[in-house]
Symmetry: C2
Subunit: 139 residues, 2 copies
Amino acid sequence: MDAQRIGRLAAQQEVAELATIDTDRLPHLVPICFAFVEDCLVTAIDQKPKSTVRLTRLANIGVNPEVAVLFHHYEDDWDRLWWVRANGMARVEDSGADREAALEALEKKYEQYQRDPPRGPAIIVTVDRWQAWAATGLN
Amino acid sequence: MDAQRIGRLAAQQEVAELATIDTDRLPHLVPICFAFVEDCLVTAIDQKPKSTVRLTRLANIGVNPEVAVLFHHYEDDWDRLWWVRANGMARVEDSGADREAALEALEKKYEQYQRDPPRGPAIIVTVDRWQAWAATGLN
């Protein structure tokens, strides 16, 4: 599967899953809404976090910035299953131009965010590896 | 959300995501079909692996048995979003009664497996922690 095809499959999904490694070295997993800004995958925290309630995914990225993101398609016809996986380095942006660009891309993709923009930080993942699989190949 | 409700939400999904930690301590992520055998989550490898081509998820579990599994629901109405996450210890069974019980549960749940049973090992996860979230609570 060529890189362009992989990127298109990933980008057209509405939801993905973000895996991080927590401070006890255990895997952590949440669903995310996401968009792409150039080659970076971006996602955002809906609520402005209180300093005392920092979300696990943000704490994890602070300690272990290496993350994995999965995009996949499920249906009863298993000949049509596929997945795309991105590995990369994540950073958290509480403010500034990169967060603004992330929010702009998210609001463009999701009308839910147009009505109620994310108020928390953005997570920006610089993807350094793509992998993909499809049950019958994707041409 | 009570434990029974969490378990029902998880079990009724057709696909979940399995996060492991690889031998480089990086997060790894694949979609899985799954079933429950008593309190254990079970999944299986479709193809009998050649000894030279051991799947990453199996190698990862051999080194780091702690895994996370995510079950989630997405739709455009974000008030209806929810996720359930299970953390636990995984083991790989290449043969024997536990693998047989896992395959039986998977074939009962998925008619695709009735037609073409998994030929590879079973992964059996003893769940030690459930967490759940819903946009508007689940009552």
